[in-house]
């Protein structure tokens, strides 16, 4: 069974058809890439998956169950975690606290219990603190755990978002253009971390503009154009696809 299924999804903004009857699946354990030129519908598709955008038609299923009516926070509780294209970190908090927020859907302490500061709350807090430190170490930011997130570079902040997504121990990690804005020299480290995350058993969906990164990382690629599926397959197959070359790869590959 697929982890995530998109079935016949349509999204229109006024007269603009952003996504037209799109279907695809995400198998457990894979790294799947979604590419396409600007305006191909990548961001809209991402928003449909995380629950920010409701499709006009079609279904989104997670582990076989329709989640199309669920708000983002409920999807997070099911085991979906994401990063943001334009950062969403909490600058006034420390790196450690930023990452700890990511564990929210898996924590049990309720409002009243945290008000009273019960023993169970303290125990859970300490366990989550340790987990968050581990994830910070994974992305190489552990030595700054107690520093405010305001001082991070763009690339570091993206890594912080990855750590924050991972601490929830998600079933699928959804990455919205993780390489965008990251200096070229830091992109290798980012790819290495994504590979390591996947090796630990987490399925990854990578919506990305950066062709090289997608080709290197993904075992399967979906190419979008004008909100439709243009091609889908292994990086080799996709890069040989005549239509893809004509529509998108040709120019990019020639540039590269």
């Amino acid at each position: 069974m697929n982890l995530l299924d998109i079935e016949g999804v349509d999204v229109a903004f006024g007269g603009l058809q952003a996504i037209s009857s799109l279907s695809f699946g995400l198998r457990p354990g894979q790294i799947k890439g979604v590419i396409g030129p600007n305006g191909a519908g990548k961001t809209t598709l991402f928003n449909v998956i995380v629950g920010v955008q409701r499709p006009d038609r079609g279904d989104v299923r997670f582990e076989g169950r329709s989640i199309v009516g669920l708000p983002p926070h409920a999807r997070a509780a099911l085991g979906m975690a994401r990063t943001f294209q334009n950062l969403q970190i909490f600058r006034e908090l420390t790196l450690l606290e930023n990452v700890m927020i990511g564990r929210h859907p898996r924590m049990r302490s309720g409002f009243a219990a945290t008000l009273l500061g019960t023993r169970a709350v303290r125990r859970e807090e300490e366990a989550v603190e340790r987990m968050a430190l581990e994830r910070l170490a994974l992305v190489g930011l552990a030595d700054r755990a107690h520093v405010s997130a305001a001082g991070l570079s763009f690339g570091e902040a993206k890594l912080l978002e990855v750590a924050r997504a991972l601490v929830a121990e998600p079933k699928v990690l959804l990455l919205d253009e993780p390489a965008a804005g990251v200096p070229h020299g830091e992109q290798g480290a980012l790819s290495a971390i994504i590979r390591r995350v996947n090796a630990a058993g987490i399925t990854v969906l990578l919506v990305e503009h950066n062709m090289k990164m997608v080709m290197n990382l993904c075992d399967e690629i979906l190419v979008l154009q004008y909100g439709r599926r243009l091609a889908e397959g292994t990086p080799e197959a996709v890069s040989r696809d005549r239509e893809v070359i004509a529509a998108y790869l040709g120019e990019t590959m020639a540039d590269a």
Binding site: Q88, E97, S109, V121, A137, G140
Partner: protein, 338 residues
């Protein structure tokens, strides 16, 4: 504390205690110790206050502290604007006061009723208004404040109307009537401590981080699994309950309640005090409440200019030190150490 850029996997964390000890627990413990010291110092007030009137200002300080700190939860931590904390304060005072005067209910039970009633009223406002994104809570609470202000004055058979409600029973504890500022002070001191202790727990936990996330970005909070709507309703109800407690505490101390105490301008002044003290900081409300209690006394000679001065200081804070007094003190202490 700026460390060199980290290499992957490096673990030289500057945690205060070694051996896997919790950094956050250490920070909470530090804050609790600081609270204990401050409350020990505050315990001396009855011995240094020159007369009962000045001593009574100490009692009012704790009432104001609970009010400002409860509003700070909503305004500072959750980033939601409430314009009715003055009315919630009044609702607490009248619920406990009316129960005492009309039905002889004891202050302890009255205070419980005040907390429950204000929390319930707040939930009723919050459920529809917080569902919408934007300033609907501010609008809803504005209307609620107007309604309650009218009710305090017009429900004459219950509240005594514009003349106020007199004959509210004093608190009786261990057979002793707490009918003087000196006797009441320990009760207010304890109530202030308990409320601040609970707030400290809340803000240094999962809930506190979630509140921070909601204030920062509701979209990010949602993606991280925070049910922003539920959390906002819960924190508003909790905050209202605390304001209700402040009301009951005030009513049984003053043994009289007047609608003038709980007008819309009280609500506005409370917002100003949260801002001047420092939004979203634990100690900000402490300084805000100190100012809220002391300034009217210091400005007695220029009474009419009071609102003007408060308004001006709010503008100054918003323009020049958005961290409020707490942020200002922090900056001063850092530059002194340097």
């Amino acid at each position: 504390m700026n460390a060199a850029p980290g290499t992957i996997g490096s673990q030289q964390s500057p945690a205060p205690a070694a051996g896997g000890a919790s950094w956050l627990r250490a920070r909470l413990a530090t804050e609790r110790r600081r609270m204990l010291w401050v409350w020990l110092v505050l315990a001396a007030w009855p011995f240094v206050a020159p007369n009962d009137y000045v001593l009574s200002l100490g009692v009012l300080f704790f009432v104001n502290l609970i009010l400002v700190a409860s509003l700070n939860l909503v305004l500072g931590y959750a980033g939601q604007i409430s314009m009715c904390h003055g009315a919630l304060y009044g609702l607490g005072a009248y619920v406990s006061g009316v129960l005492s005067v009309k039905w002889g209910v004891t202050p302890a039970l009255g205070a419980v009723a005040a907390v429950v009633a204000t929390a319930a009223a707040a939930t009723l406002i919050a459920l529809p208004t917080l569902r919408l994104r934007g300033h609907y809570l501010a609008m809803g609470t504005l209307g609620f404040n107007a309604i309650l202000s009218v009710l305090f004055v017009e429900l004459v058979p219950l509240t005594g109307g514009p003349n106020g409600l007199s004959g509210i029973a004093p608190v009786r504890l261990f057979g002793l009537e707490l009918d003087t500022p000196g006797r009441y002070y320990p009760l207010a001191w304890t109530a202030g401590f308990v409320v601040m202790f609970l707030i400290l727990n809340l803000v240094s936990s999962r809930t506190g981080r979630a509140l921070n996330a909601v204030a920062g970005s509701e979209i990010a909070a949602g993606a991280l699994g925070v049910d922003a709507y539920r959390l906002k309703v819960a924190v508003f109800a909790c905050s209202a309950g605390m304001a209700g407690l402040a009301g009951a505490l005030y009513a049984h101390f003053n043994m009289f309640a007047s609608p003038e105490t709980f007008t819309f301008s009280t609500s506005v002044l409370l917002v100003v005090m949260v801002a001047i003290g420092g939004w979203g900081t634990f100690w900000g409300p402490f300084l805000g409440a100190l100012l809220f209690t002391a300034l009217p006394e210091l400005l007695r000679k220029v009474h009419d200019a009071e609102l003007l001065i408060f308004g001006l200081s709010m503008v100054l804070v918003l323009l020049y030190f958005q961290g409020g007094l707490v942020g200002l003190l922090g900056r001063l202490s850092r530059s002194v150490r340097r």
